[in-house]
């Protein structure tokens, strides 16, 4: 009895110690990991779910974290497919080149970056310049934009998000956000906050649009024409701030991931894109 007790303690110690020595097992050939952008996350999960229903042999894990996370993981070889809501940065391209990796970027859908405000806000048109000025802190009150005398509360995503980068690069001329921008960890939180804060403005992917917030029509030609972001305007490029969503993988790995990529691009896969609320390729 007493000895049993000792043995138990010994064993638990030994297992603990022996665990330390083990190195990660080789990954199963059939398991494919998709990692990266939170924007693509719901889409990838849905596609993976349907593909696995059809093809019982494939097993797909979907892990979020942000576009940068996925691309880093691809570089480190801890994921087979990276999902990204932006193009590879020049920096990242150089890194892949240094690592002798040939990365294939497959365009799977588009997303229109949508500016939203509280439904009670009277302002419904903004020019690109005005949006930039709001987020760099130059305009701080809605009355300067033809609205009521109300402090503007700008909401942004966290810096790990591809949307954050995209918005900074394309809407703000690569200037930095002002420090008093409120950053939310997820798009859902932005929608929630904008819907309950009267002076709020935020940016989200078109797919996240709900009736509890109001879309802003944006002018890309200094106020001559204003365009509302919709699937249609994003498709025909009259709303020019639609951004590409990618799956990225190493070319040497293409045999393994091909089925997944093909499925995303198939008629069925593109139908899911539309269902989720993103803009299909065709």
């Amino acid at each position: 009895m007493r000895v049993n007790y000792l043995v138990y303690i010994l064993i638990s110690f030994l297992t603990f110690v022996s665990c330390k020595g083990r190195i990660k097992e080789e990954k199963d050939d059939k398991i494919i990991t998709i990692k990266g952008s939170d924007t693509v996350l719901p889409l990838a999960q849905m596609e993976a779910e349907n593909l696995m229903k059809k093809n019982k042999e494939i097993s797909i894990s979907v892990i979020g974290g942000g576009s940068g996370v996925g691309i880093t993981a691809l570089l480190e070889g801890t994921t087979e497919i990276a999902m990204a809501s932006r193009d590879l940065k020049k920096k990242e391209k150089l890194k892949f080149r240094e690592a002798n990796m040939d990365v294939e970027e497959t365009l799977i859908a588009f997303d229109a970056v949508t500016i939203i405000v509280n439904p009670a806000n009277k302002v419904s048109n903004l020019t690109e310049k005005q949006i930039e000025q709001i987020y760099t802190g130059e305009i701080k009150n809605w009355k300067d934009l033809g609205g009521e005398d109300l402090v503007i509360v700008p909401y942004s995503r966290e810096s790990s998000s591809g949307t954050y980068d995209y918005f900074k690069e394309k809407m703000m001329d690569d200037k930095n956000y002002t420090s008093d921008v409120l950053s939310m960890s997820a798009t859902g939180a932005i929608v929630q906050s904008v819907s309950q804060t009267k002076g709020a403005i935020g940016y989200i992917g078109l797919a996240y649009m709900t009736p509890s917030v109001k879309k802003i029509a944006v002018s890309f030609d200094e106020g001559k024409t204003f365009v509302l972001p919709t699937v249609k305007t994003a498709k025909d490029n009259t709303y020019s701030k639609s951004r590409p969503l990618y799956l990225m993988y190493e070319k040497g790995n293409s045999k393994k991931v091909n089925k997944v990529i093909e499925y995303f691009l198939s008629v069925e896969g593109q139908k899911i894109v539309a269902n989720i609320g993103y803009v299909p390729l065709k």
Binding site: S159, S179, S185, S193, T197
Partner: protein, 402 residues
């Protein structure tokens, strides 16, 4: 023989127990080693991306730029070189990512093999240029001038007021707003939770009937079981709009919302521990006090509270620890704007929220990654200081008493 075995066994078990006894110390040491090893690395690095440089035209007299100046230049807030001690020349920005706007793909080459040529050309042509590109594309015979950027200094790290860890070309690592944000929110939380927690602890241990206590205590402990994410959403949907209305603010995501949520989360810790301590007051001491004619209330604050002071402080420590380190709930209700707070009615960004939100993006080993570990170090030091101070205070009190 048997006796020998038994003796050996005793020794063996004692050794084993001692080993286990040291586990916490070992863990703390390991945490210090790993945290500081990564975190201090930030001071051996430049805030610019590794392998990247900033260059200007040879005729430009500027030699050095601070991180903040560079940020303002690239934000187009500084538009002329004379503002940073250079000649009166308009600043022309060029980022390597946009170089294809100025040169055709044929000029650049298919694999950017002629990139260095184009860079040389561009920098030489524009007097006011400041260019940002990778070291590997630096031409061998460079016609421009590379700008010196200093390593990140501890003083800058602690005192700078801007936190833009992903800003290009030069990241801003000023943690002052984050430290202040964390402290404001946590002390707000404890200010509100400690008295209420103590009241409840006294009620539970000294006043309530056994039956009431048996119902209330598990209920209060249940508060600790609610995951912080739920608190976050509860706060976002209920408390944030409430604060906005009550104080008539433009935005409800404020330090106060964080403080209230954290206060609620710290309550069960404070209550459970101080109540346990109070109930451990020897019955004889209480009865002696009552027998001497003291009222129940007098007994509580003259006998029970002093006796359980160390337990109450322990509860408060854990409460503060929980508040300072709480991540998910704060992430969702405080707005996370990295500005220096002046009141609790402003959005704030705390250290844990920053780590949780940004660690995923920062690639292992990058400056940003190290900066986040440095934030972890700061968090660690803050909690260590609090623990040590309180430990010191309770010890001093106990010694005086005896």
């Amino acid at each position: 023989m048997r006796k020998k075995f038994q003796k050996f066994q005793e020794k063996f078990i004692e050794g084993l127990l001692m080993l286990s006894g040291t586990i916490t110390s070992l863990t703390v040491v390991l945490i210090i080693v790993f945290l500081f090893n990564e975190g201090l690395g930030v001071f051996n690095n430049k805030p610019i991306d590794e392998g990247y440089i900033l260059a200007i035209n040879k005729s430009n007299s500027v030699k050095k730029l601070s991180a903040l100046q560079i940020k303002n230049i690239f934000d187009q807030k500084i538009k002329n070189w004379d503002k940073v001690g250079g000649p009166n020349e308009k600043i022309v920005l060029i980022n390597i990512d946009d170089i294809s706007d100025y040169y055709t793909e044929i000029q650049l080459g298919k694999d950017f093999e002629n990139l260095h040529f184009c860079i040389n050309d561009y920098i030489n042509k524009h007097k006011g240029v400041i260019a940002f590109f990778s070291e590997s594309s630096l031409p061998k015979k460079f016609l421009g001038k590379v700008i010196n950027i200093d390593n990140i200094k501890l003083s800058e790290f602690l005192l700078d007021e801007e936190w833009f860890p992903t800003a290009t070309p030069v990241a801003q690592f000023g943690v002052k707003p984050l430290i202040l944000g964390t402290l404001w929110v946590s002390f707000g939380a404890v200010l509100f939770a400690l008295p209420i927690g103590l009241f409840a602890a006294i009620f539970l241990s000294e006043i309530a009937h056994k039956r009431v206590r048996n119902i209330l205590k598990p209920l209060i402990e249940l508060l600790a079981g609610i995951p912080s994410v739920v608190y976050g959403f509860f706060g976002l949907v209920i408390i944030v709009p409430l604060i906005q209305q009550v104080f008539d603010l433009p935005v409800g995501e404020t330090g106060l919302a964080g403080s209230i949520i954290l206060g609620i989360m710290a309550l069960p810790t404070i209550i459970t521990i101080s109540e346990d301590a109070m109930r451990n007051t020897p019955r004889a001491m209480k009865e002696a006090s009552l027998a001497l004619g003291a009222s129940k209330w007098q007994t509580i604050y003259k006998v029970v509270i002093p006796y359980s002071a160390s337990g109450i402080t322990a509860g408060a420590i854990l409460g503060i620890g929980r508040a300072i380190g709480e991540t998910m709930a704060v992430l969702m209700v405080t707005g996370n704007a990295a500005i220096i707070p002046h009141t609790l009615l402003q959005p704030v960004r705390t250290i844990p929220a920053t780590i949780a939100a940004e660690l995923g993006e920062a690639g292992a080993g990058s400056v940003h990654y190290q900066a986040l570990f440095a934030l972890g170090c700061i968090l660690f030091i803050i909690t260590l200081v609090i623990n040590l101070t309180v430990g010191f205070v309770t010890k001093g009190k106990n010694q005086k008493k005896h």
